[in-house]
Amino acid sequence: MDLGLSEEQEMLRTSARDFLHKECPKQLVRQLDESEEGYSPELWRKMAGLGWIGLPFPEEYGGSGGSFLDLAVLLEAMGYNILPGPFFSTVVLGGLTILAAGNEEQKKRFLPEIASGEMILTLALTEPSARYDAASVKTTAAVRNGGYVITGTKLFVLDANVADYLLCVAKTKETANPEEGITTFLVDARSPGVKITLLKTLARDKQCEVSFDEVSVPKENMLGELNQGWPIVQGVLQKATVAKCAEMVGGAQAALDMAVAYAKERVQFNRPIGSFQAIQHYCANMVSDVDGSRFVTYKAAWKVSEGLPATFDVAVAKAWTGAAYERVTLLGHQIFGAIGFTMDHDIHLYYRRAKASEMIFGDGRFQRGIVAREMDL
């Protein structure tokens, strides 16, 4: 049993933290949060140049040949610096799905462009019912003229407003078991009939409504086989869930670091507030939450990286980390007091992201349902 990161992973962790600390200061974060696009093309190009966007893709497709575990290390650094932008959508939701389910032609068509930073993607799965099950997919894809025509509305789609392609999950067959009638399509976001509306969210992440009004999709843009798209979706969701946990671990660590630094310098009653037990105990609780989150997240990420069954561990990680990140940011706010309640201060940037991250891909209650099923209750 070896619970440490490799030397290369440690190097990636430090270099990513340092790079983002320099290239993605909070001033840029706020700017991007308020912008429509939500990312900096210049920074995006730099990350592509570092091989980050192609990190988990094989070298034959222009990637860096890294593992999913390597990606988790990178995502933790991104979470620490709360890097805005479509990295998660493009690499995890889009790229890894094409890698897992695409045919050779699709992989050659999409992955190199993704890796070089020339293509942004996202997954259009959830609908107004805001659920992650196959029965909730009402958007349809019907056969027409040798291709397909998609009609329906997707909601809470990350980064659709800047995406070049949307991985759209649609119903292609009416079946007793909804999971047997789902197909995923690669849809050009600029296709006629696609209408994207940016939502205004708590975390300023670019979640969108995407409506499909008889959008034509060529046959060669079907991902995997007809009616066999749900296992593909399940695969994405598992990876996305634990990838989001890795980001959350980074964010929680940052909140802890900020709060501790402040507690050491803020003076009230003639002493640093960090000398009061109430504050010390908050910080100690934050340590348990952050470390525990890191341990269960990396265990789940390792299992996913090794291709081992990971359903239980991923659900454990998401349930715990989602709640922990929220607790940590709440305590952070308590430690900062009134100044933390100002827009100018940074802690609320983490507090907002904690909630958004907890919710996406299924909140604690949803994950506990999975755990209960895995426990055979």
Binding site: Q9, W302, L377
Partner: protein
């Protein structure tokens, strides 16, 4: 990074399980009232059942009371991960065997004792021939351990000890006190303490039972009236005891019955599947939610447990990590009890001897014992102080 056990680790685990299943007295797992994380239901602290002695010596014969110790002192030279595997499985069966000597005194002597002390104490500890009890707390020195008053004055080649220890778990079932005494009253509190080994049979020692809230005689008040002990029984250097104590406390905090949590959860799950009025409790979504939450917390605590073992194998010293592990696992002890009560409803309040008692009355006793989990070996508040002050460097004043 690799969470799998190596072939060697896997083989050792199988060996441990085979041994326990064969040699642990029949029904022990079900009869034991031991609540994971609690300090009031540890069997050795109450009385030494002959079956415990026998099993302990069988373990000792295999070197399993001292797995990660060097072979020259009675250990097997295996890794800390393997030692953790042993403890995880042992606790899963609620199996007794290790004691304060094997878990705390021995490792501390290994770290700080003279070669002479190692040769004198480690082999009998590893053989399971002697038991130690922790003589730390006093009526006026609980969380503030450095304020202990028990005096040890030099007289020739001996120390003469006067004072009182309290909350002395297992003093009445052990052979030696692992004792913190003040050897230099003129020095600042932390700098005048020594760690000394005292034979229970020494003249002048009076043990007075205390009954804990579980109704068990697990701990005591112990009075020392001019008790003589050879000065060579001082562990390490005189007056440097505080620093050894801190390490001994870290060792104590690493002892977590992580398998015991899993076992109790399994029993609770089984109970919820077999109990219900028309519909099994386990089919109730609210019960499912709280059982899942408990399972998640056990997974989290488990990762802390393995992490500290891995650290030890890397030559790293789990210091703040020991406090985090203790904090997390003892709070879990409490969570386990409260979840069990929620699941069992009124049946949870029935003691073992009562008609209609379920799960052997373990939850009722455990609900009481988990109070000690948050208080013994350093309260949760003290653990948080350590994490904050030593770990995060937050200021004292």
């Amino acid at each position: 990074m690799d969470f799998r056990l190596s072939e060697q680790e896997e083989a050792f685990r199988r060996e441990v399980v085979d041994f326990i299943e064969k040699e642990l007295p029949a029904n022990w797992t079900q009869e034991s009232l031991y609540w994971p994380g609690g300090y009031g239901t540890i069997p050795d602290f109450e009385e030494i059942d002959p079956r415990i002695e026998k099993f302990r010596h069988q373990l000792a014969e295999k070197g399993w009371l001292a797995i990660a110790w060097p072979e020259e002192y009675g250990g097997t030279g295996r890794s800390h991960i393997e030692q953790a595997i042993f403890h995880e499985r042992m606790s899963y069966y609620r199996a007794p065997g290790p004691d304060v000597g094997t878990l705390i005194s021995g490792p501390t002597i290994l770290r700080f004792g003279s070669d002479e002390a190692k040769r004198e104490w480690l082999p009998p500890i590893a053989r399971g021939d002697i038991r130690f009890w922790l003589a730390y707390s006093e009526p006026n020195a609980g969380s503030d351990l450095a304020s202990i008053q028990t005096r040890a004055i030099e007289d020739g080649d001996d120390l003469v000890i006067n004072g009182q220890k309290t909350w002395s778990s297992g003093a009445h079932t052990s052979d030696y006190a692992w004792m913190a005494v003040r050897t230099d009253p003129s020095a600042p509190a932390h700098k005048g303490i020594s760690l000394v080994i005292v034979n229970n049979k020494s003249e002048g020692i009076t043990i007075r039972p205390l009954i804990n809230i579980c109704g068990t005689h697990s701990f005591n008040d112990v009075f020392f009236d001019n008790v003589r002990v050879p000065s060579r029984n001082i562990v390490g250097e005189k007056d440097r005891g505080w620093y050894y104590l801190m390490v001994a406390l870290d060792f104590e905090r690493l002892v977590v019955p992580i398998g015991g949590f899993r076992r109790t959860l399994e029993e609770l799950v089984q109970y919820s599947k077999e109990t219900g009025n028309g519909q099994a409790l386990s089919r109730n979504p609210q019960i499912q939610d709280i059982l899942a939450e408990l399972a998640i917390e056990i997974e989290v605590a488990s990762t802390f447990f393995w992490h500290t073992a891995w650290m030890l194998d890397r030559g790293l010293v789990p210091n703040i990590e020991a406090s985090v592990l203790k904090l997390v696992s003892t709070e879990l002890s409490r969570k386990l009890a409260s979840t069990a009560m929620e699941v069992m409803g009124p049946y949870g309040q029935l003691e073992r001897s009562s008609k209609w008692a379920a799960l052997g009355g373990r939850v009722c006793t455990g609900y009481l014992d988990c109070i000690s989990a948050l208080v013994g070996a350093g309260t949760s508040e003290i653990q948080r102080n350590i994490i904050a002050l030593r770990g995060l460097g937050l200021p004292w004043s």
